[in-house]
Symmetry: C2
Subunit: 398 residues, 2 copies
């Protein structure tokens, strides 16, 4: 068996980068930009009024305190000129700064009576309360490099720059397969020895949080049927995720079926708990992840391995994250212990509070966790206050 | 003008709790559960085999080391009995523990030859490698209280317990309205004094990250048209979000239109930068949020005020979060300074790195930030290493 770090390196070696596609602006949120976005104009595109008030020629400040209002410059109107330098123009936020003016004085610092604006003080500077043309970016500047994650602010920039179509990294086509003859559909009343399918829905939800819409299917514990079903799924999908059937059981046919279908199995067994029987294989650019069938094993392996693969596919750079253990833990096996935790915050620090649970088959307590700490295999005792790597179960944690 | 804390209290006083609805299991991710979920059976529902191997009667351990394999108990099969206490049954993970057995010995600790399993050692304990009936929950136990956020693990529990329909808190119907005659559609080539609409798309994306699908519209800077459009929108939607037209400009008609339509304006003006002209009003259970039109003001007010309202509507308890400022900042105005930052992690601590920007109209640099620090108004100097409240622009940060 290999270590967690070795397994993660193997995954990274065998993951491919996704292709690109052009999609509509409307649906580009939480996708990875695959082109550089350049401004088609200066940002802002004109000297922009940044406060409601009056615009004057600041050189007049030494000479006069009262200004006749000769016009109004509203947002969305063509630039007007100040005809008489001794006058002013009322200006609105978002408007073009009128020609021959260079100073905006907000209403709060002006008294207006009978069409005359009187300044409360003369302490004003050229270009105050203006947002100057090109100060944020010049026409032709690279605003968003390829490899930018499209979050709401980025979507705002794509709108401003008129990108009705956006080139992004394609999403992989993913099928989630449950195995195990003990599983019955949610709507069923299970017999005493049966349980309802749940891992596939948990994985589907975890994928949806990563913006990947995946399908689910169930495959029987029958070698011939498994083989023909998987052969077909490999044609249609980029990635197959399996829950169950990768361990040492009599009906754990997946490893042998994968081999017969010509898949190269790069990982089968990792020095970790939970998730020891974890399997990863590839055939060309297609790949299969075999997660052990217990809920915690499945979800932990999904985040420790599949998410790593997906990040590389999309071009997301993972920044390792750490949290403080809040309780002494003893774990004597020479395995990496993926410890379920619920995080909290304490004065800007991330605290990892272990979730008591009955093992990897325990879905009830898994749902209370929002992350896991990976406690290194070479240690037996882990003390309160020590810092360990953390992996979150939710999106936006990369 | 009121303080940020006063404004937030007013929002909380005037926010209502959302009603409930029953939705299909398939679409319940990232919704707020509005009913308690009880187990319909013990969890696990039977003494479950937790390792592939053999099951024996542990009392035999003192007497014998080799066990004849009399049957196989696969997952999904009805419980079998061990007929002869001196024999064993091969068992698979997920199977029912056979009747008259109480101890699972994994394949790793057994040598099987000619149908006889020989133990490597006698050091085994009753009920080892089993997941005992009801250990995680007893039939009738409350597994998920009302007010649980449906994340992937929770969805797994809803599946296990057979909830094909789920009672959740309704989502509010939200319309996002842009104002400002300088705005043109994304697909347009703007004239020199025009800019493309972007705030509405940024807000729509921010709402989508909170799982709320909102619509967008544009309203002209014309009082009569605004009045009739808003009257109609108030009938159809629970919440209207406005970007622009709430300040002191000549064409900032919203405050007066709201009053004429019978809305109570609870907030208009907050001691903060950006976002000073922020407005909040209600009419019955309907409410309007008037965000100042600059991109940063809009997004900051959305997160500081609308998200607070939404959390209360959905029943999410907000836990305040803090981060370490990484740079000295001087800000002398008696206003709360919502400082754009990009967070990073340093040994389990959240670090807030200020984003240089040219003010609230600067969309380019806003897109680089993932959060803002709220620096209190009663201070002028903020030192590197000090801890301040942080608000994230992304989901899953509550």
């Amino acid at each position: 068996m290999i270590s967690v770090a070795e397994a993660q390196n193997i995954i990274l070696e065998h993951s491919t980068k996704g292709g690109t596609e052009s999609i509509a602006f409307e649906i580009c949120l939480n996708r990875m930009l695959a082109e550089g976005i350049y401004t088609d104009r200066d940002a802002p595109p004109f000297d922009r009024v940044a406060m409601d008030g009056i615009a004057i020629d600041s050189r007049q400040l030494l000479k006069q305190q009262s200004f006749f209002i000769e016009a109004i410059q509203a947002a969305g109107q063509e630039q007007k000129p100040l005809k008489n330098p001794e006058n002013c123009i009322e200006v609105m936020t978002g408007a073009v700064l009128p020609y021959h003016t260079d100073c905006v004085i907000p209403y709060e610092k002006v008294t207006i009576q009978n069409g005359i604006a009187k300044l409360d003080s003369m302490a004003h500077k050229p270009f105050q309360n203006t947002h100057r043309k090109g100060i944020d970016a010049k026409k032709g500047d690279l605003l968003l490099p390829s490899g930018t994650w499209i979050q709401p602010g980025v979507k705002g920039i794509l709108a401003t720059t008129g990108n009705t179509q956006v080139k992004v990294v394609k999403l992989p086509k993913v099928m989630i397969c449950s195995t195990g003859d003990e599983l019955v559909p949610i709507e069923s009343e299970p017999l005493p020895h049966q349980i309802r399918r749940s891992n596939v829905y948990m994985l589907q939800a975890a994928l949806k949080e990563l913006n990947v819409e995946a399908k689910t299917t169930h495959l029987p514990d029958d070698k011939a049927k498994l083989t023909s079903a998987i052969k077909q799924l490999l044609d249609e999908f980029d990635v197959l995720l399996f829950s169950g059937a990768v361990s040492k059981g009599k009906y754990d046919y997946l490893p042998v079926v994968f081999q017969e279908l010509g898949l190269q199995i790069h990982i089968h067994g990792v020095k970790q708990k939970p998730g020891k029987p974890f399997l990863f294989g590839t055939k060309g650019t297609k790949c299969v992840f075999g997660f052990p069938g217990n809920p915690t094993s499945t979800l932990v392996c999904f985040h420790a391995y599949f998410k790593l693969w997906l990040n590389q596919y999309l071009g997301i750079t993972l920044i390792p994250n750490y949290a403080y253990l809040t309780k002494d833990i003893v774990f004597k096996k020479p395995l990496t212990n993926h410890l379920l935790v619920k995080t909290s915050h304490d004065n800007g620090k991330t605290m990892a509070n272990p979730i008591a649970n009955s093992g990897s088959g325990d879905l009830v307590h898994l749902a209370l966790a929002n992350a896991f700490l990976s406690l290194p295999s070479e240690q037996d005792e882990f003390k309160k206050g020590e810092l360990y790597p953390i992996t979150y179960f939710h999106q936006n944690s990369f």
